[in-house]
């Protein structure tokens, strides 16, 4: 059976074991993955769309009685596949800490304040051209226990589905020029510097709204069809 989805792009992902990120040492398989063909069970996947979201879920600053503290931002972009085609009508879920670097989560007990006006969760569905947009506040950096004086660069967690089980992506979006990049083992678990850059949003003055919010652009590239030029450059057809 011929693959439907490209395998070459998987090289952009980090390895399961990245020892500087201590948690991976006991949560990565030691046995090799079993390579299997892409069957009907893999080229299908959950279908969730516009009827599953509410418009206000794309604005994380309006989910409580008052407005959250912090730097209001607009984050927008497109979801594409490796062939450059838009991925329409696909669900995006996000979550993040507040401007002080504190998550509402019970596991986060570090000494920074919670914000009663901020949960830090949102969702949106891409439009017919693959566009999405959120309004939120810029998350803060925060300490974690991975190694002495460990701090995570500011980031927003993203979860995307795409058209099949194989296009599922959970990742993190970072902000340009963060001084913590060289010290973060999660960011640096992606070994290809060009692939790392694809996790960093860019500031955009056109997206920035006067007197209201800074604008950032972040595009996603999900796993795409087999036979894209990117793949053919690296591999001959192995089927």
């Amino acid at each position: 059976m011929t693959d439907v989805y490209s395998r070459a792009g998987n090289a952009a992902d980090p390895p399961s074991l990245s020892p500087d990120y201590v948690g991976t040492r006991t949560r990565s398989p030691k046995q090799p993955l079993v390579i299997i063909p892409q069957t009907l069970s893999e080229i299908t996947g959950p279908v969730y769309g516009h009827s599953d979201v509410s418009p206000e879920e794309a604005d994380l600053t309006r989910q409580h009685a008052g407005e959250p503290l912090g730097e209001r931002i607009i984050v927008k972009g497109r979801v594409l596949d490796e062939a450059g085609r838009p991925v329409p009508n696909t669900l995006i879920e996000i979550w993040q800490c507040n401007a002080a670097g504190r998550y509402i989560h019970v596991v986060d007990q570090h000494p920074a304040p919670l914000d009663p006006n901020f949960t830090g969760a949102g969702r949106v569905v891409t439009d017919a051209d693959g566009n999405y947009q959120f309004v939120t506040i810029k998350p803060g950096a925060y300490p974690w226990g991975n190694h002495p004086n460990a701090w995570r660069p500011a980031h927003i967690h993203y979860s995307l589905f795409g058209p099949s089980f194989l296009t599922r992506l959970v990742t993190q979006m970072y902000f340009p020029g963060d001084p913590l990049f060289p010290y973060d083992p999660i960011f640096n678990s992606v070994t290809d510097p060009k692939a790392r850059e694809r996790m960093v949003s860019r500031f955009d003055i056109e997206t920035t709204r006067p007197d209201w919010a800074l604008g950032y652009i972040f595009d996603f590239v999900l796993r795409g069809p087999k036979g894209t030029p990117m793949e053919n450059r690296d591999f001959t057809d192995q089927d």
Binding site: D13, G23, I36, L80, H157, R168, V170
Partner: protein, 194 residues
Amino acid sequence: MPGRTPSQTVGPFLHIGLTGQYGFREVFHATVADPGMPGSHIRIEGRLIDGNGNIMPDAMVEIWQADSQGRYPHPADGRPLASNSFRGFGRCATAKDGGYAFATVKPGSVPGPDGSTQAPHINVGIFARGMLKRLFTRIYFAGDPANASDPILALVPPDRRDTLMAKPDPNSPNVWRFDIRVQGGADETVFFDA
């Protein structure tokens, strides 16, 4: 051509955005099939265990499966479903004891590569702190005669196939147990690359 966006860990705070425990409206559930759904109703229950033998109370399990006739609610399948309300997808965060549970129907056999037939199975995605990308495994049902000719099981070393078999719970009818060892020795769960 654009390069792929790399995967990153879901982290320990996934519940804020993905499972509704912090007040954000839930879209996904651990109930894949309500009682009225056609098919044989089952529960899948298990625990996630790490390389130190510790349970994983901060993980998330997602499942994707066909309906009782082996059909997927997706355009790439396109065959009529037993029920149009069947969506085939479930999500469950693990509990303090590392456990997860899904209420669903047993999937039917599914078409496989080159005219073959796949035994009833459920695709599983696992996400957690300490996992930089999703782990993908499959749940099969121990004792199903179709397992013997399943084209995917045939690719798994025989001595590892048992890690993919859900076992009937001797104490609870219609409950199948499926523990997932993300790192281990011979008992490490088989994970796939498709």
